[in-house]
């Protein structure tokens, strides 16, 4: 007994060390699931608030740039409108799609938010935005910037939310090549925050450099047709069975500030159908 006490007295710090390490590892693994706690991240009240104050101050330094961007975006939109109007007058069928996209967007009311913190140079980057549960922001909602797709809401607290942007190796979004109809998955390789990879594009697909990439509308997070980026280079996949496209992202994550959260209205019919299929598959597996 005495020996045991002496032993404990001498090496107690080993136990403390082990306990602290276990606590850390538990924190690490908890964060890696969607259900895990969000209070130990930059979306908690303390660091969220500090970051918000910092970003409010630093936002003044980039006002000129923001203005320029807004102007150029305005011009771009004006051009697009005049183009669409011409097509409408000509009575072409291609207007149908543009109209349907704007209809879909109406079904998805948005919440605007401001990015208060962002990382670019890690393999798992996150954005913190200043809207949370109190503003009806929920996990797995889509996030859009002025120039295109940004990412998906990962976790929320009362007044802040953590967004999983395209430039996170865990991000995985179904996209298609505009006007060609071929689908693929947009993933990030963890290197350059300006580019992402569109993977699993079939071998027989026809496309060229400079083609535009947009969301496919397969998931409920985003409507069809939100701009993602431009094809910059074409590679073969590692197994040679599909193409891998390097996509120049339209969103500049280094300067992202104002974003919109797309509030999805759950498509009940689609949900029910998916659930049914999953259930019947499970049954088949069991039998």
């Amino acid at each position: 007994m005495n020996n045991l006490l002496l032993f404990l007295q001498k090496y107690y710090y080993w136990f403390v060390f082990l306990i602290l390490e276990i606590v850390s590892i538990v924190l690490l693994f908890q964060f890696n699931s969607f259900q895990g706690s969000v209070y130990f991240t930059s979306a908690n009240v303390m660091s969220g608030y500090i970051y918000e104050v910092q970003s409010r101050i630093s936002s003044y330094f980039s006002l000129q740039q923001v203005n320029e961007e807004l102007t150029s975006r305005n011009v771009q939109l004006a051009l697009e409108i005049s183009n669409l109007r011409k097509q409408l007058e000509a009575g072409e069928d291609s207007t149908h799609r543009a109209v349907s996209v704007s209809n879909v967007l109406n079904d998805y009311p948005n919440i605007s938010a401001t990015v208060v913190n962002a990382t670019l140079n890690r393999t798992n980057n996150f954005l913190t935005i200043n809207k949370g549960n109190a503003d009806n922001v929920k996990p797995e909602m889509g996030v859009m910037g002025g120039n295109g797709l940004v990412g998906v809401v990962f976790k929320t607290t009362e007044h802040y939310a953590l967004v999983l942007p395209l430039i996170n190796t865990r991000s995985n979004i179904s996209c298609k090549i505009r006007g060609r109809g071929y689908y693929g998955y947009l993933r990030w390789d963890g290197k350059d925050s300006r580019y992402a990879m569109l993977e699993d594009v079939p071998r027989h697909a026809s496309f060229k450099k400079g083609d535009l990439v947009e969301t496919s509308g397969y998931s409920e997070m985003f409507p069809e047709g939100i701009f993602v980026g431009k094809v910059e280079a074409i590679y073969n996949s590692a197994d040679g069975l599909s193409f891998q496209l390097k996509v120049r992202l339209s969103t500049d994550f280094g300067r992202l500030r104002d974003v919109h959260i797309i509030q999805h209205t759950p498509d009940l019919e689609r949900r029910l159908l998916q659930d049914e299929v999953v259930k019947s598959e499970e049954k088949e597996e069991r039998s």
């Binding site: 710090y13 060390f17 606590v23 850390s24 590892i25 538990v26 924190l27 690490l28 670019l120 140079n121």
Partner: protein
């Protein structure tokens, strides 16, 4: 006692803020982010209580994680550094030095002090990035991040150290 605790707390808060608001935004070519906050743990004198080293390390890492969205990663590697700091320091002390030696150029000499900082930072970076990636899949990136970060942090530490002495 209280004065030294307050001084330590001040140093702690200062490093934390500098790290969170300045150094976390810095990186060279997408790699090599400096982590100056480990300097806090390395400055504990020889013979410091191992318990306090562990707790200061854990709290430091935990608070850093809040700012970088890496819960547990910094806490685990800082605790590890707190555990091995006394061993590392003992490797780099000259013979017949006092038991409560404070790590510095004056006490250890250039070579030993630099060696101490470099090795400790290097070990910290390895544990940090291994936990962060949790795989050896991108070994090249890992090596670049670790070596670049270590050197960058080392240079900053020497800078901070010279400031510290003058004031």
């Amino acid at each position: 006692m209280i004065v030294s605790f307050l001084r330590r707390l001040f140093f702690f808060a200062l490093l934390l803020l500098v790290q969170a608001f300045i150094l976390n935004q810095v990186n060279i070519l997408g790699y090599a982010t400096p982590m100056l906050f480990v300097f806090f743990l390395l400055m504990f004198s020889r013979g410091s209580s191992r318990l306090s080293l562990l707790f200061w390390g854990f709290v430091m890492g935990f608070l850093m994680d809040l700012f970088t969205n890496t819960p547990g990663v910094g806490a685990a590697s800082c605790t590890l550094l707190g555990m091995i700091q006394p061993v590392l320091l003992n490797l780099f002390v000259p013979r017949e030095s006092p038991d409560d030696l404070e790590p510095s150029i004056k006490q250890q000499g250039w070579a030993k002090f630099s060696g101490y900082l470099l090795l400790s930072t290097f070990l910290f970076y390895i544990s940090y990035y291994l936990l962060l990636a949790f795989s050896l899949a991108h070994l090249e990136d890992l090596v670049i991040n670790v070596v670049g970060g270590t050197l960058f942090t080392f240079v900053l530490m020497l800078g901070l150290n010279s400031l510290y002495i003058r004031s």
